[in-house]
Amino acid sequence: MSKKRSPIKAALTVLIGILFLAGMVGCATTQGAGTAAKVSKIEPPQVKLVDVQLAHYWGWWYFSKKIKPLKGTPGNYGAPMDLSFVFEITNPNPFPVQLDGFRFTVSFDNFDVNTLNAYETQWIPAGKTNQLAVHGMFDARTTLLSLLVTGGFKLKAKHLNVWQQLEKWWKGIATFSFPITVHGGAATFHAGGKSVVVSFNGKFPK
């Protein structure tokens, strides 16, 4: 004679199965936080600029708003240039850390021209190195204005012409013929309710 299974017991079994899975998923999805909850201190990860790549390039040109375009609206337009700053981030801790906030200032020939930030988060496994590429779009018009308001007096003191300076950078970028520096960098890491901010600098070409 086969025993008839109680519907209540069957429902309970299904429910327990669901709870079991939920428990497993809970652990898996909050793995970093859960692991890090056991630590008291985060060793600062190392941030290193390893490469600067010319991701997209249109050469050197500048049109003033006096020029009538074939299509669209006249304006002051300068050649764009997309640079990719590639960093290696090494986590020396025996637990994963979350990168949450990354910013730095870019200088050409020691003139500050842009400050970049990346808001996306990523987890870096214990003892491993991740790579992060942060893109910066520079265009000759915006850089001209930035250069004038932040470095105008410096240019004047060095008897440098702003247009010659821009042309030097836009043409020279193809061979990285001038120094690009990253400075004032700050990377924020979290793990287990703790945070650490790491400062970084870098130069390319080295």
């Binding site: 709870l19 428990g23 859960g34 909850a37 930035s146 105008g152 004032g184 700050a186 309710g193």
Partner: protein, 415 residues
């Protein structure tokens, strides 16, 4: 049966472990997103970069101090290079990312975005203090912590009239002469011009011709020579620091002999660094304290700059960081109030947050802040400071509301 019991106990154990060890690692119950539009690369990056750093640090501080009643803020900000078309597209992105409020930047883009944010009901706290943004009938979702540009301009001219004009040899013998220098095409620079000329008439000034000075000017000799013909006693400069410094240098070199009163974005720690001796005696609107200047909560600002941007020397930090904190603090308070009222939405943040402020003390050397449903001017006046003997010193707090109550209530709102 036995197997099922083991399965049951094991499942419960895993569940409990999952709940105890996994979820407590996440210290915030929920994350909310606040957006940011900053200029870190463009025409106003001389002041915009420090503001952007200060804003990011302020939100890191806020999260370290409980966020919005336990809710973490994901502050997501973009550089838009002071290009208005890009500000519009970045705004669309921030909206798509479900930002419940936005920290914005310039006058041109803030005014251009105003109808959109009103339609979307997204509170927009800007670094533009244009008085055009203070009338809630027209721009209900635009806010900022500081005295508006028109109040700054009126207060600067009044402080000069009260404190400096009586020390001049021609005082009492003739009308004082006044002129303006600013970039005509810039919405920021031109925003308070109508108001300051109105104030000049009110105080009995003779008004000379305006001079167009680009935000990017390194040489302003022709404008100074034009001013020399009018012989002004005092000149308003409405630009940012670099072109203000260029103008002051040329005026000093060409012996213009006028005093300078300057809007807040042209008056800061970098002015004496760039203008040298020519900055001596310059007077400016300071809606908050300079970086490190003694005031409530300044310690938090300085400590956060050190902690969250350790690679940027404190000697390079300026009043722009403090201004960013002012805007971050009011949004934080408004979100906390709206959340407590159970309505952390754009409309809730405005109605149950900002518009409940009555003399809310943010410290930082700023005026206490009040917003009502009919008036979004945060402050009734402005602290005016002077750069004298190598340091910034308080000259006078001008309270326009107290001094001209009828005009303040009935005439001056929104321009």
């Amino acid at each position: 049966m036995k197997a099922r019991n083991i399965f049951l106990k094991f499942g419960i154990a895993i569940l409990v472990l999952g709940l105890i060890f996994c979820f407590p690692g996440m210290s915030f119950a929920k994350t909310i997103r606040v957006g940011g539009l900053m200029d870190m690369s463009g025409a106003t990056s001389d002041v915009g970069k420090d503001y952007a750093l200060g804003m990011a640090e302020a939100f890191q501080y806020i999260n370290a101090h409980g966020g919005v009643n336990g809710k973490k803020i994901k502050y997501t900000y973009f550089d838009y290079g002071y290009r208005i078309p890009e500000a519009l597209t970045k705004y669309t992105l921030l909206k798509r990312l479900h930002s419940i409020a936005i920290e914005g930047w310039g006058t041109g883009d803030t005014e251009a975005l105003s109808p959109t944010i009103t339609r979307d009901k997204i509170p927009y706290v800007s670094a533009s203090y244009s008085a055009h943004l203070t009338n809630p009938k027209k721009t209900p979702y635009n806010l900022f912590f500081a005295s508006d540009y028109s109040t700054n301009a009126r207060a600067c001219l009044t402080a000069w009239y009260d404190k400096i004009w009586p020390t001049k040899k021609d005082y009492g013998k003739r009308k004082p002469r006044f002129a303006c220098c600013y970039m005509f095409a810039s919405p920021y620079c031109s925003a308070p011009i109508k108001a300051i000329k109105d104030q000049a008439k009110l105080l009995g000034f003779e008004i000379g011709p305006d001079q167009n000075v680009s935000l990017f000017a390194l040489d302003t000799k022709s404008q100074i020579l034009a001013l020399k013909k009018f012989k002004p006693d005092v000149v308003w400069h409405g630009n940012t620091v670099m072109s203000v410094a260029a103008t002051l240098r040329d005026a000093y070199e060409l012996n213009l002999g006028a005093d300078w009163i300057i809007n807040n974005w042209g008056f800061g720690e970098n002015l004496p660094k760039l203008a040298g001796k020519a900055a001596e005696g310059a007077i400016g609107a300071t809606p908050c304290a300079f970086f490190g200047q003694k005031s409530d909560h300044m310690d938090d600002v300085v400590a956060s700059a050190k902690k969250y941007d350790p690679g940027v020397p404190l000697s390079k930090r300026t009043i722009r960081t403090v201004q960013a904190w002012g805007d971050a603090m009011i949004l934080w308070e408004a979100m906390k109030r709206a959340d407590k009222a159970g309505d952390l939405t754009g409309e809730g943040i405005l109605k149950k947050g900002f518009e409940t402020f009555r003399n809310f003390h943010i410290g930082l050397g700023a005026s206490d802040v009040t917003y009502t449903a009919t008036d979004h001017r945060p402050a009734p006046g402005c602290m005016i400071q002077q750069y004298k003997n190598g340091k910034f010193q308080r000259l006078e707090y001008v309270n326009l509301k107290k001094r001209w109550p009828n005009k303040w209530e009935k005439e001056w709102l929104g321009w």
